[in-house]
Amino acid sequence: MTTIVLYGEIPMSGEVVSRSMMKSELIELMARKQNHLAYKDVELAVKSLLEQMSEALATGDRIEIRGFGSFSLHFRPPRAGRNPKTGDAVSLPGKYVPHFKPGKELRERVNETLKNT
């Protein structure tokens, strides 16, 4: 990878790196490896994949990718909160949030890098 994106943002505790690969760089890398396809097609494909994944979660479906991980929804029960401006008590309804569980291969490959540092 040639492009290194250094972010000005403050890393959260325990965060290992502040460099990131953005969507456009991912598309770039994929297009280079699939040079029989037009860049535009790879771009559309990546956008479609992310849309399909968002759509699945938005309709309550899980996503299962062997060796990568699974995405599912976790329920957060209703709770009492406060309006930070007025201090008034408000009841916050329960909601679903997306959750990712890394698969075995991803877990192992990422953890392996710790040993090499």
Partner: protein
């Protein structure tokens, strides 16, 4: 029902007119590139969807739940996913429709 790589490839075939082999390869490549970036210690930021972030966990005491025997849990590097604002909102909208 769960979304799988096969479903995703099928839709690339339907939507983009890629042939089935190309569609399958692209789906495979997409997940492999994300894994490789994480393996090369890059966080991965997919705007509109979410960020995959690497975190180091320090060693901590643990226990074998079966035997109760104490064994330390070694320092590890893990991937966490933080959904983006757009995805969170779409998922919350689903929650709303269930109530």
């Amino acid at each position: 029902m769960a979304l799988t790589k096969a479903d995703m490839a099928e839709r690339l075939f339907d939507e983009l007119g890629l042939n089935k082999r190309e569609a399958k390869e692209l789906v495979e490549l997409f997940f492999e590139e994300v894994r490789e970036a994480l393996e090369d210690t890059y966080n991965v930021k997919l705007s509109g969807f979410g960020n995959f972030t690497l975190r180091d966990k320090t060693q901590r005491p643990g226990r074998n739940p079966k035997t109760g025997q104490e064994i330390p849990i070694c320092a590890r590097r893990v991937v966490t996913f933080r959904p983006g604002q757009k995805l969170k909102q779409r998922v919350e909208a689903y929650a709303g429709s269930q109530q």
